[in-house]
């Protein structure tokens, strides 16, 4: 049961072979048993979980269930959930009992899903290894010496260890795709604006996007069906007709044009990852796809541009944490300015402070043009590279991460090395495109490798189709860690 797909779980629930309460209990027991070692969850509240499961069971008994009713899910602790402590991985919000639901949480509630708990994450989603969390690092279920990736590392570890059937994540520079790759999962960052950001604690508002993390492309499609949709409360939510993201899953891949950017296969890509990704592309050729060589010449500028734009937006977004309305307030302080300075110094961790300082600097008088405007111009060059590339291909493929999961502590003292681990994912956020990672083999130390699939705007159904057909032909996505 713990390995079942969402479709199988829904059928089992509908056939009354198991109740939602029983299913939730099964996963809560696994969390109680395995989470102390993995640290994938920050908050677990069995009473609340079981109350939701009872509501789902009543709904199923009335015959009013939908495709996800009664299914337990884990939510990244960046999504505000009414009555749940929502920490965003920070000491700043250690006592933040959310008074409202994020739109994503509201939509999942309406679908009848059951919240298993709130998953660990890099503080305010700033990190690529989950080591910046105030609540301690998460262990990779494939190897406890390895990081799970970040920032949605708790969600990735929870699903990989089968502590939850699926989970939500958010992706600002790779935070869904990279942990999905490092933990052997399927994770999708949708086109910017497809999933509402309302109630999702803001890091870099022009880049942040929520999405599903699961065991297969089919599961991701079902989850995205529930998550996506216009939300008037998010000023950048896109007004589009509702889509069934599972509609094209079974389409054959004959004639699919896959673009292979030479920049993705250049220096810096480790040999084990290259080998697994090339084998996956060979499999796609067997499935009838053709490959096209393409170039994204400005991709190498994506990391520098991102580390101006994201911190700039973060420094603005995080100014709301001032110890006045919610969150941490220093126990002792002098005047108002001292209260702000001490509350923020105590509430934020080192990486968050670094990014706030970078952002404050690049937005300050005299530096704005040289940094912020220059980064935004480069952002356009990067977006234009992609639109040129999509004239000759339908999807772009390459590695999600340059290496398999690195060891805990290996990069935590060197911010620049940590930033460079997102070299293949960041450009997608800058352009606002959808990106997906699927498991495609194993590299050094038996650690998972992810294949990244990038689509044109609103190409989610096509990407999920390509991922699903690959998962019908291969079994990497069914491999699981020995626990």
């Amino acid at each position: 049961m713990i390995h079942a797909s969402l479709k199988e779980l829904a059928a089992t629930l509908a056939g009354k072979k198991i109740s939602s309460v029983e299913l939730a209990t099964l996963f809560l027991d696994r969390i109680a048993q395995l989470n102390p070692g993995l640290n994938a969850f920050i908050t677990v509240d069995p009473e609340k979980t079981l109350a939701m499961a009872r509501i789902a069971d009543a709904r199923l008994a009335r015959g009013e269930g939908g495709p996800l009713t009664g299914i337990p899910l884990a939510h990244k602790d960046i999504f505000c959930a009414e009555g749940w402590i929502t920490t965003c991985g920070s000491k700043m919000l250690a006592n933040f009992l959310s008074p409202y639901d994020a739109t994503v949480i509201e939509r999942f509630k309406a679908a009848g899903t059951v919240t298993l708990g709130k998953t660990n994450m890099d503080e305010f989603a700033m990190g690529s290894s989950n080591e910046t969390s105030f609540y301690g690092p998460v262990k990779n279920p494939w190897d406890p010496a390895a990081v799970p990736g970040g920032s949605s590392g708790g969600s990735a570890a929870a699903v990989a260890a089968r502590l939850a059937p699926a989970a939500t994540g958010t992706d600002t520079g790779g935070s869904i795709r990279q942990p999905a790759a490092l933990c052997g999962l399927t994770g999708l960052k949708p086109t910017y604006g497809v999933v509402s950001r309302w109630g999702m604690i803001a890091f870099a508002s022009s880049l942040d996007q929520g999405g599903p993390m699961a065991k297969s492309a089919e599961d991701c499609a079902l989850l995205l069906n529930a998550m996506a949709g216009f939300d008037p409360r998010d000023s950048t939510s896109l007004e589009r007709p509702a889509e069934d993201y599972a509609r094209d899953l079974e389409q054959p891949l004959a004639g699919l044009r896959i673009g292979l950017p030479k920049e993705f296969f250049a220096e810096g890509l480790s040999a084990d990852v290259a080998q697994a990704v090339e084998a996956a592309i060979a499999e796609y050729r067997k499935l009838g796809a053709v490959t096209v060589d393409i170039s994204l010449p400005n991709m190498k500028l994506s990391v520098p541009a991102y580390y101006v734009i994201a911190p700039a937006e973060a420094s603005s977004n995080l100014s709301r944490f001032d110890g006045v309305r919610y969150g941490h307030r220093a126990p002792q302080y002098g005047d108002l300015a001292d209260m702000y300075c001490k509350s923020r110094a105590q509430g934020f961790g080192a990486e968050v402070k670094r990014r706030i300082l970078i952002g404050t600097y690049v937005l300050s008088h005299g530096y704005y043009d040289a940094y912020y405007l220059q980064a935004q111009r480069i952002r356009r060059l990067i977006a234009t590279d992609f639109s040129e590339a999509f004239k000759t291909c339908d999807l772009i493929m390459g590695p999600t991460s340059p290496t398999v999961a690195f060891d805990l502590g290996a990069k935590s003292t060197d911010p620049v090395q940590m930033y460079l681990s997102d070299i293949y994912t960041i450009a997608v956020n800058l352009a606002g495109l959808p990106g997906l990672s699927i498991p495609c083999g194993f590299g050094a130390g038996g650690r998972p490798v992810g294949l990244q699939i990038i689509g044109d705007y609103f190409g989610e159904a096509r990407m999920l189709n390509a991922a699903h057909r690959y998962q019908l032909a291969t079994d990497w996505h069914t491999r699981r860690p020995a626990l």
Binding site: L97, T236, V308, Y326, C341, K342, K353, R354, I378, R380
Partner: protein, 112 residues
């Protein structure tokens, strides 16, 4: 590729990577309302300088004539009708505040 050659040539003409002084770090921290512990400014400066060395790669690119892209989809901000849509949850929101009184948030005295 021509672009790579250009980039390499341009990098040779770059001024040395910008580096922040301790005073600048202290000033930025003050603007950001983050207190630095004694000795923290030095370490912060070194780390920020490492990050700015990465960021400086941008300066080698000629972006003349390229319009800045503020937003992934170049969207216009949507406006809504000016009417009340939310119910008053004043009390709920203040329940989680560090200090309130009579419906007001309390902070240290600002005006003597």
């Amino acid at each position: 590729m021509a672009y790579d050659t250009l980039l390499r040539l341009a990098l040779l003409d770059l001024p040395p990577a910008m580096s922040l002084s301790l005073d600048q770090v202290r000033r930025i921290a003050e603007l950001a309302r983050i207190e630095l512990a004694p000795g923290e400014a030095e370490q912060t400066r070194d780390q920020l300088n490492g990050i700015f060395a990465l960021i400086e790669q941008m300066q080698a690119v000629d972006t003349g004539g390229i319009a800045p892209m503020a937003h992934a989809r170049d969207l216009a901000q949507r406006l809504r009708e000016d009417r009340v849509t939310e119910r008053d949850r004043h009390a709920d929101f203040q329940k989680i505040a560090p200090e309130t009184e009579a419906g007001l948030y309390l902070v240290p005295k600002v005006i003597e």
